[in-house]
Structures are given as C-alpha cells and as structure tokens.
Symmetry: C2
Subunit: 149 residues, 2 copies
C-alpha cells in the first residue's frame, strides 16, 4: 500500500517539545489546524476541522517522547482506516520527526495533494519549533493549490 | 516500489509557463538549483549540483505542454535508476503539476527527507509561477533539516 512520508529535523528544539507538538491538542493547533476537539489519550477520538469538515482520528498509540499513532475513523473516503504515525528520533544534535500517512489504497490525485499539504504543514511545524510561529490551516490560504475550494 | 508524489496548482500561470519551468534549463534554475548544466533534449544528460555534488539525469521524455521524464544515471545511490516525472494538467481554471519520483527500492530515511525537500522546492515552484520568485537551493538554507551538512 502506498504511503506519504516526510522528515523534518532541527537542533533548535527538544524531543519533549516535539512530542508535545504532535501529541497534545494544544500542540497540534500550532501547526495543523486551530480547530481541534477531543482528548489525546489511547482509544479516544480527536476531531480536526477545516473549512468543509475534516477527519476524526482514534488515538492508537502514545509512546512518550517516541511515537504517536492515529487511525482515521471519519473523514475523506480515501483516508478512512489509514494510519498516521509520528516517530521521534535524536540524531546527533538534531531532533528528528519521521512522519508517515500509511495505508492508502491507491495513488489517487488526492494523495498527491495530501503529500504536498502534509509537507507544507510539517515545514510549518519545524518553523513553530524554531520560532514559536507555525503555519496552521487558515493562516496562509492557498499555498499549495485551490483543491479545497 | 515506493514513490514520492506531490501536487501543486495555481490559476496564476499557463500550461506553457509551467512546462517551461520543468523542461528548460533556465526554468529549472528558478526553483530547484541555480547550478545546472547540460541540454534538455531526449537522450541528453542534465547535471544538477548542490553543495556536495548532485544527480545527473538522462532525459527520457519531453512531451510538450504535458510531460517531462528523467532517469537518474549518477547521484545518491538510492536515486540511481529512479525516474522523475512531471505531468501537467489543466483542471478547470487551475494549471496543475503532478510530480512523481518513482522506483525507490526501499522507504529509507533518506526517502522521507527527499519527500519533504521535493515538497519544499515544488511549493517554491508554485511561488515562482505566481510571483516570479522561487526558493531554489541555497536561497533559504536549512528549511527542512540539516541532512545535507
């Protein structure tokens, strides 16, 4: 099954700060979307909202300072049952995030779009970790395309 | 075999301008790297250079206004024999690029890095098409990680 994968890294943050940014509701609002509800604990559902709805994820794994995994239980049909994994590593001085959105059934055009969009938000996450300011949804519209119009 | 895929789109360019940006040496310097030599014709080799070397691609296909395809013949070992495809579409008012870097043998960490790096350059290509200013290599160092240090 095809996957979307990405990697960012910076010396200007800690493993703890990166883990907070991908595991806590407050952290996620800084770089993906400001409209998030639910609770980040294993078995709970987190709801992410954009202009026209958005996905719900069940929290599958929370391994402190190492890994966060979710499963999509509602959202775009191509996303249902796909998983998102955030794996955190320390490589020399750099704190690294390996991101994977896996379990896509086909390499459809929407997957091409989502790959670039994830890249955009994750580069924003790196910016947030370095400067305190990310690029969550709604802040800089149409950086990728007008897909969501 | 795993692939890196991306999609950008904008109403603020033409199919001709996008094709020029991915098919001509001058066009490629605006968004990937300024250090390019060789000739963009089928069967020729184009050399892309960064701080520590860079890949050589054989031009496999040049289908005006529609497609550009290259094969990596020298460069990072994970890239050898991989192909890069640029496919151009018109969707309603939007001029769209579907990008694919295909034929990777394994989803190694370098592939994660390259996926995000391609996203960064392609978002810069969209910016170039809209504003005349892209983000080619060397302009904004370390937007992704310090992988290349």
């Amino acid at each position: 099954m095809p996957n979307i994968i990405h990697r960012i890294g910076t010396e200007k943050t800690t493993v703890q700060q990166l883990y907070n940014a991908v595991s806590s509701i407050g952290g996620l609002t800084n770089w993906w979307t400001k409209n998030i509800s639910g609770e980040s604990k294993v078995g709970s559902i987190i709801q992410f909202r954009f202009s026209k709805g958005g996905p719900d994820f069940e929290v599958i794994d929370l391994n402190p300072l190492k890994k966060v995994e979710w499963k999509c239980v509602q959202g775009p049909k191509e996303w249902i049952d796909t998983h998102i994994e955030f794996n955190i590593l320390k490589e020399n001085e750099e704190t690294v995030l390996l991101f994977k959105h896996c379990g896509w059934r086909e390499e459809v055009e929407f997957m091409y779009h989502c790959s670039t969009q994830w890249g955009y938000f994750l580069i924003g996450l790196r910016k947030f970790l370095e400067t305190g300011e990310g690029t969550p949804y709604g802040k800089n519209p149409e950086q990728i395309s007008n897909w969501s119009k």
